[in-house]
């Protein structure tokens, strides 16, 4: 992962068929706008931006209306070569909900175009004109150590002002002004800041005046100086590309510049996102509250792991202060998920900061739909911050309108990714904005909106999951013991065993043991499940399931179905006729109360303390279709074949 805005690392790599999809976009006119916006939501090379820009132009010509993209006609006046930016601007605008049409004036014709009422720009009926000029056009490209530096700044800004006024007068067009980055050409060094006529001092002064001018003239401001500062001015300016091609800044910076302008156009058209939806475990705090408990979470200042999550919380709160609604969407028991907000002393976020709190075991797309509905905003107003790549992929596939930034493995960068991606660009800020969040009745007791799970078949098949079964062994011993002692939620009996006891199980003839690993196209999830079965001394053809536990990370992926299919097939090999499952309630494992029922077991009895016993006849069991391929490390049966046929391949599942 990259930690530089120049790479737009919050976006995904474009798919292999990107060029083809650009060519075919718009074949069905109603879907054109959505398709283009989908394609724009990748990290694009200049070549891909050109392909997408062609598709946008073609669709504009053929269909006109590209709903849900809002049309925007923008003129471009530049003191340098702007032609290389245009494709990237069109692509980035589509990313931010805008179907951009550009009318570009010839090279270095800023004044001529503005003052001539019959010019291209003044007659093009534009929504805005971008005035892309820098220190060179403003004649602030060399130090002025005499007393004229103030006059030079005033003169440069005055010329810009006249251009802005002329555009208003002749074309009735508001301007998009740019601030000016300071080239890193130190004259005195640190002392430059204190010398009135240094380039740094003059440009700083000019930038303040340009900000005021944008406000007075009813225009907009693109803070290029801030962007160049973020990127680093040594990487922003490219002396060769300026000398040879008159590029105002390095071609490497074109995608991020275009994205920033796209955000601004999106904000002008009201496309700014309104609501930040937060995952909880390993996003808002470090650890899994259901397994680690409130005391086991990483959430302290001074602890490097905790600082990361404090930063995410602070970022969310700062956004809320400026009017962004906050919501929770987490796979958790609701009561468990709320505990840290109530009990952890270092939580900055409190329940009352959230306008919606969805913590349940239903898929996230269904929950996000419920949040949008409850808040009466569109799905295109949501941003989801989630550390889990599989959840992100599921949401993107089901709800492409929701913005879902990529995140690196290191949570210390989460806050930067969220803020650098620019989902909440604004062109105004009022007192009402701040009050709005309060109007979303931030009721800490508000119960979650009821949601219904959706069919996940296709999504699961697309994960390319591979599940690996093996008996307990020395290699897995440590992790097996860790899972047995740490897993609280998906744990049917919550029986704990030491590493020594686990080692003894490896060779015990009366036991059937199983460790389960899962990987998918996003990576290896490692060991995620354990089963221990015991033969009954009084009834050797029955297995009692002593322990069955699973990591909550793999919920909703049919892993438990695959595990049962494997247990049954091994039981058959060993002449076992019957499985007995036990559920022992604990304060944390209510989510598996109906585990055996869902898998087709029959209830045998339930005692006063709600312990229940369940039975499955091996002969009656038929394995379901599974969205994964299996691999097995058990000894081959008498035929010498290591059987796998219970597993359907992911391919078959998709076809089915």
């Amino acid at each position: 992962m990259s930690y530089s805005a120049i790479d737009l690392p919050w976006l995904r790599e474009a798919p292999a068929d990107f060029a083809v999809r650009c060519r075919t976009a718009g074949e069905s006119p109603d879907a054109a706008g959505r398709e283009l916006q989908f394609l724009a939501n990748f990290r694009l090379s200049s070549r891909q931006a050109a392909q997408l820009a062609r598709a946008v132009r073609r669709c504009q010509e053929e269909h006109g209306d590209l709903n849900p993209l809002s049309p925007f006609r923008m003129g471009v006046l530049s003191g340098a070569t702007a032609d290389l930016l245009l494709d990237d601007l069109v692509a980035a605008a589509a990313r931010h909900g805008v179907a951009l049409e550009i009318v570009a004036a010839p090279f270095d014709q800023v004044v001529q175009q503005a003052f001539d009422p019959a010019s291209l720009i003044n007659t093009a009926k534009l929504d805005a004109v971008l005035i892309a000029v820098d220190h060179r056009w403003l004649k602030l490209d060399r130090p002025m150590l005499g007393e004229h530096s103030g006059a030079a700044v005033a003169q440069g800004v005055e010329q810009l002002k006249q251009v802005v006024e002329a555009l208003r007068k002749h074309g009735r067009t508001p301007a998009i002004l740019q601030t000016v980055p300071v080239p890193s050409l130190p004259l005195f060094g640190s002392f430059d800041r204190r010398v009135r006529g240094s380039m740094r001092a003059m440009i700083d002064e000019a930038n303040r005046a340009i900000g005021l001018l944008a406000e007075e003239a009813g225009g907009f401001l693109l803070d290029v100086a801030a962007l160049a500062e973020q990127v680093g001015t040594d990487g922003w300016f490219d002396p060769v590309q300026w000398a040879a091609y008159k590029l105002p800044f390095s071609a490497n910076c074109t995608p991020i510049y275009a994205d920033h302008l796209g955000r601004l156009l999106g904000a002008i058209r009201g496309k700014t996102r309104k609501c930040l939806v937060l995952d909880l475990d390993n996003t808002v705090w470090g650890g899994v509250v259901g397994d680690d408990g409130v005391a086991g979470l990483f959430l302290s200042q001074g602890d490097p792991r905790g600082e990361a999550f404090i930063a995410v919380q602070r970022s969310a709160l700062e956004l809320r202060e400026r009017g962004i609604i906050l919501a929770v969407c987490s796979k958790n028991d609701e009561a468990v998920a709320r505990t840290p907000f109530r009990e952890h002393p270092e939580m900055l976020l409190k329940e009352e900061h959230f306008a919606a709190f969805q913590a349940n075991w239903i898929d996230k797309p269904s929950n996000l739909e419920a949040i949008a509905k409850a808040l009466n905003i569109g799905l295109d107003a949501l941003v989801l911050l989630d550390d889990n790549p599989a959840e992100r992929a599921q949401v993107r596939a089901a709800l492409p309108e929701v913005a879902v930034p990529e995140l690196p493995n290191d949570p210390t960068w989460f806050a930067w990714y969220l803020r650098a991606a620019g989902y909440f660009e604004a062109v105004a800020f009022s007192a009402e904005d701040r009050l709005r969040v309060a109007s979303y009745a931030a009721d800490a007791q508000r119960s979650a909106v009821m949601t219904k799970a959706r069919d996940l078949g296709e999504y699961l098949a697309s994960l390319d999951m591979k599940i690996v079964f093996a008996p307990f062994d020395a290699k897995g011993r440590q992790r097996i013991a860790q899972l047995i002692n740490k897993t609280n939620q998906f744990n049917l009996t919550t029986r704990r065993y030491t590493e020594g006891e686990v080692a003894e199980m490896e060779a015990a003839p009366s036991l059937f043991t199983m460790q389960v690993r899962l990987s998918d196209k996003f990576g290896d999830l490692g060991m995620i499940g354990i089963v221990i079965c015991r033969s009954r001394p009084q009834d050797p053809s029955t297995w009692e399931i002593d322990s069955w536990l699973m990591s909550c990370r793999v919920l909703g992926r049919k892993v438990e179905d695959a595990m049962l299919a494997k247990v049954v097939s091994e039981a058959r090999k060993r002449g076992i006729k019957r499985l007995l499952g036990l559920y022992i309630p604990s304060p944390k494992n209510s989510m598996v109360a109906s585990h055996y029922e869902k898998l087709g077991f029959h209830l045998r009895n339930r005692d006063a303390r709600d312990r229940s016993e369940w039975e499955l006849a091996v002969a009656d069991y038929a394995p379901p279709a599974l969205p994964m391929i299996g691999e097995d490390h058990y000894p081959a049966d008498s035929n010498g074949s290591s059987e796998l046929p219970v597993m359907e391949s992911a391919e078959d599942a998709r076809a089915g």
Binding site: S46, A50, L84, V240
Partner: protein, 83 residues
Amino acid sequence: MTRQEILATIRDILADILDNESLQLTESSTAEQVQDWDSINQVKLLIGLENELNFRFSASEVEGLKNVGALIDLVQRKLLAQT
């Protein structure tokens, strides 16, 4: 890289820029002979070559290239200087 390979690389990048998959290019081709090969697309080509082959042209090198053959000469020199 052989001259043939460099020519093929130039052709592919330019074909993409001009959106002309069937573009034909020889060492003696000049910008005037190829439709839409204007100064802007020339800049895109040069930057595309830099990114593809991982070197940077100097400002003086990119001036006065009279045909594709001259560009191939330059690219060969740049690649040689890298090794």
